[in-house]
Symmetry: C2
Subunit: 125 residues, 2 copies
């Protein structure tokens, strides 16, 4: 387990939010659970381009934050399911807002970035 050398600044609400949903694959994972793909193996199957190890790390992180809840059933082989906590439910509409904004401006942003040239910045008088 990696130990941070520089303490995080979590004084602002946005830092908290970004910490929760900012990981590379967290959004996808959350989306899986939202669609009832809630067992580790099922999530791994759907997110087959992502290393399962990473998915597990993200799941554990979300669990630590209290966004998702891990249920271990006493079956053999063990069955595990993740579901949202109430706070986890409450972040879903927030994610939807981000999703919508991103979809609405994807082209603009990608176009800008592709076309960007330092020398194009105009000098005003």
């Amino acid at each position: 387990m990696y130990e941070k050398k520089i303490p995080e600044l979590l004084d602002c609400g946005l830092a908290i939010s970004v910490k929760v949903i900012g990981g590379k694959w967290k959004a996808w994972i959350i989306d899986c659970i939202k669609r009832d793909v809630k067992r580790p193996s099922a999530i791994h199957r759907e997110m087959n381009i992502v290393n399962p190890r990473i998915i597990n790390l993200h799941l554990k992180e979300l669990e630590e934050y209290g966004i998702i809840c891990k249920k271990v059933y006493a079956e053999v082989p063990a069955r595990v399911e993740y579901c949202f906590t109430p706070v986890g439910e409450s972040i879903l509409p927030v994610i939807q807002v981000l999703e919508d904004w991103g979809n609405q401006h994807r082209e603009y942003i990608q176009h800008n970035q592709a076309e960007y040239r330092e020398d194009a910045v105009p000098v005003l008088r």
Copy 2:
């Protein structure tokens, strides 16, 4: 300038949004500009715990995405100001949503994380 070795996946809107606001200090920078702290030197003064170099990198990134617009005035010494583009304006309420959610659940999340213990996960029958 660092060149990515693995192409980004920007197929989902959330990935776009996180890309735009996900940098370590972007939120603070955006907040500065929102409060009319828009000159590099002024931003550097306010964000004095952050290395100016980093702030400049983030500013350039936001400019590339078309979130902020750089104005260079033909004065000596050169005066530079950043302001929002229309798309930049449109992300402000999104950030507010994140800010609000984070503030609302900061304690819960930090408490959970502090208390988290693997062995506390119950086994269901």
